[in-house]
């Protein structure tokens, strides 16, 4: 036992030393080093020589008014609110692999490992598309104004904005397993491995919902008009659309760890392994997850949805009906 502790201590010391060393290297050259270097830990970024913060030149046309965006392991999917379609774009080169008809007002897209789920705000349904070829496998009624969904490993969770509920839908066959009351105006959901988090657009709150039975485990105050939610492995991040802030809550107990200036009219959120990316109007903002520091701001009018593909961050923009690749 003593020996084990010794080894652990040794290892911790080694770890500490390493971080000190790299920290010092960063400081020594202070002004000329990039503010973040998550690339060192991400082989995909290294392979793409993605040492720079972002690529501001790359965008690809999708359908009209793209709101939600999701990644399936190889492709980016956008929900095109304005033309009742979903676009599948290959992440590596931006090639459009298909455009698929769905219901009215597609708003969110969520991937379940094999299929892409689309919430159709205009007709209160969700559509299941096969990821490989976009074939429609079914459309299921969930209730009025479905929002951004989450997948918990077996079920799709749908915030139903018009009913102030969240619906649990079995991914295998689209059966609604339950409908649970949440706050007013539920808009987006995220899964943290145990619980589903739902942002309530009109209530300035988020709900933590137990995935097994839909029990509300907590209601936590955030900023005004909370929309997008992201989980970083430990914390829940919430974009307050009209509040000018991003809230960080500890997932375990919902404790508010901070409200950070978003520097944009925040809408969607994504985590890239190190930083939180905020889609908003007029800018996309990169925020360090550890302390909420703003690391970068890029002008993209009307950016809404945002997703990470393992190397690049993608955002949808209403201003030019495009998906932007950072």
């Amino acid at each position: 036992m003593k020996r084990t502790f010794a080894v652990i201590t040794l290892a911790l010391v080694a770890l500490g030393t390493m971080s000190l060393i790299s920290g010092q290297a960063q400081e020594a050259g202070a002004p000329s080093m990039p503010p973040t270097n998550s690339a060192a830990a991400n082989p995909l970024r290294i392979a793409l020589l993605r040492w720079y913060q972002a690529n501001t030149t790359t965008r690809f046309k999708v359908g009209s008014q793209p709101y939600g965006v999701a990644f399936d392991g190889a492709n980016i999917w956008t929900a095109n609110y304005g033309d009742a379609s979903v676009t599948k774009v290959r992440a590596s080169d931006g090639n459009v692999l298909g455009t698929f008809r769905v219901g009215t007002g597609p708003y969110g897209v969520t991937y379940d490992g094999a299929n892409m789920w689309v919430s159709n705000q205009g007709d209160g349904t969700i559509t299941k598309l096969r990821g490989s070829d976009g074939k429609s496998l079914g459309t299921f009624s969930v209730g009025s104004v479905p929002g951004w969904m989450a997948f918990d490993g077996s079920d799709i969770w749908v915030p139903v904005g018009g009913n102030n509920t969240v619906a649990k839908v079995r991914a295998s066959d689209g059966k609604v397993l339950g409908t649970f009351p949440v706050g007013v105006g539920p808009l987006a959901a995220a899964f943290d491995g145990d619980s589903v988090w739902v942002s309530n657009d009109d209530a300035k709150t988020v709900n933590k919902v137990r995935a097994s039975d839909g029990k509300i485990l907590g209601t936590f105050a955030v900023g005004s008009n909370p929309a997008g939610i992201a989980f970083d492995g430990t914390n829940i991040w919430v974009a307050n659309r009209s509040g000018g802030t991003i809230s960080k809550l500890r997932a375990s107990d919902g404790k508010l760890l901070g409200n950070f200036n978003s520097n944009t009219g925040a809408y969607g959120l994504a985590f890239d392994g190190k930083n939180i990316w905020i889609a908003g109007d007029p800018d996309v903002v990169e925020m360090r997850a550890s302390d909420g520091a703003t690391l970068g701001i890029w002008h993209v009018n009307g950016s809404i949805g945002i997703a990470f593909d393992g190397a690049n961050v993608w955002t949808t923009a209403l201003s030019d009906n495009s998906a932007h690749k950072f």
Binding site: M1, T4, V7, I8, L10, A11, L12, A14, L15, M18, S22, A25, Q26, A28, G29, A30, S32, M33, P34, N37, A39, A40, A41, P43, L44, I46, A47, L48, L49, W51, Y52, Q53, A54, N55, T56, T57, T58, F60, A74, R90, A91, S92, D93, G94, N95, A311, N312, K325
Partner: protein
């Protein structure tokens, strides 16, 4: 119970340590089941492909170009495919990394030397004096632009393409969106470029230096002496590495201030460099793998088939090497 806890802690410690400081962890904990340098632990793509071993001793070989003497020189990865600039036949080849399938050979003319990816397009430099922009999705040419003489290995800084023009001794800056030349800067012997997130680094073959250039205005922030006849240049997240062909060394410089942190002997006329997250790969007469932390040689591949390798690129899991005198690329 106490015993179990101890074992669990121990294992957890090993895992955590191995992830964060792979080389040290291996040495200090002495895990007998791990290979000597188990850098694959930090790379989920390598794990997914069961790439626990150092590399294939006999790499997989794929033919590129349309002729026996396509002479692939430069390489670039686009997230899914490797692109080769085929000096011998004026073409560029797109090859899928997962299975080596050739997805297209596209003509660009001249003698293509280098290729770089900008997130959507590949840019191919070709002697005598052009760079061609091709759409990565289908290889469609989007424009050909005149740069200086013998443009070699370019770099992308997030917005601009930087082209070292070897025979002119200049460096061209082109806007990636439309190919417009934004500046041409004096860079004697410029042959290869790399971007470190802030500055562009250019090797100067004749002057035996590497130059650090500010992207906004092309200002030279420093010119640092390296070995003789430097060509390949790569960034590892903190340091810049330079392959010195004539004196058979590789130089490691701190990117922040250009300080030389080490000079390592690498036999076989080192030419190209790539970083794989832990190690630096060097092409030339042989393919040599150096540990980035201390420059130690951790791999040396010297079969007859490997002679005269030039370009090298990492695809997130495997290393690709171009054989400049033949018509093949190798996947390690």
């Amino acid at each position: 119970m106490k015993h179990t806890l101890a074992v669990v802690s121990f294992v957890v410690t090993i895992i955590v340590t191995a992830n964060l400081v792979s080389s040290r962890a291996q040495e200090s904990t002495n895990t007998t089941t791990s290979p000597t340098h188990n850098w694959a632990q930090g790379n989920p793509l390598k794990i997914a492909q069961l790439k626990w071993y150092q590399a294939n001793v006999v790499p997989t070989s794929f033919v590129v170009g349309k002729t026996n003497n396509s002479n692939p020189y430069g390489l670039a990865f686009d997230g899914q495919n490797i692109w080769t600039a085929n000096k011998g036949e004026g073409s560029v080849t797109k090859i899928r990394t997962s299975d080596g399938a050739v997805l297209g050979n596209f003509d660009v003319g001249g003698n293509p030397n280098g290729v770089v990816f900008d997130g959507a397009n590949v840019w191919v430099t070709a002697s005598p004096d052009t760079i061609t922009k091709l759409r990565a999705s289908d290889g469609k040419p989007l424009g050909s632009f005149t740069v200086g003489g013998a443009p070699w290995w370019p770099a992308f800084d997030g917005q601009n393409i930087w082209v070292p023009n070897f025979s002119d001794g200049t460096l061209s800056k082109l806007r990636a969106s439309d190919g417009k030349t934004l500046g041409t800067f004096t860079e004697s012997g410029a042959i290869a470029a790399a971007f470190d997130g802030e500055a562009v680094w250019v090797t100067n073959y004749g002057p035996n230096t590497v130059t650090k250039v500010r992207p906004s205005d092309g200002k030279v922030l420093g010119a640092f002496p390296v070995g003789q006849a430097p060509i390949g240049v790569a960034f590892d997240g903190a340091n810049v590495w330079v392959a010195n062909q004539a004196d058979q060394t590789v130089t490691k410089l701190r990117a922040s201030d250009g300080k030389t942190l080490g000079t390592f002997n690498v036999p076989g006329l080192p030419y190209g460099l790539a970083f794989d997250g832990a190690n630096i790969w060097v092409t030339g007469l042989y393919v040599v793998e150096l540990r980035a932390s201390d420059g130690a040689r951790v791999g040396w591949f010297s079969s007859r088939d490997l002679l005269n390798s030039t370009g090298v690129a990492f695809d997130g899991a495997n290393i690709w090497v171009a054989l400049g005198l033949g018509n093949t690329v190798l996947k390690f």
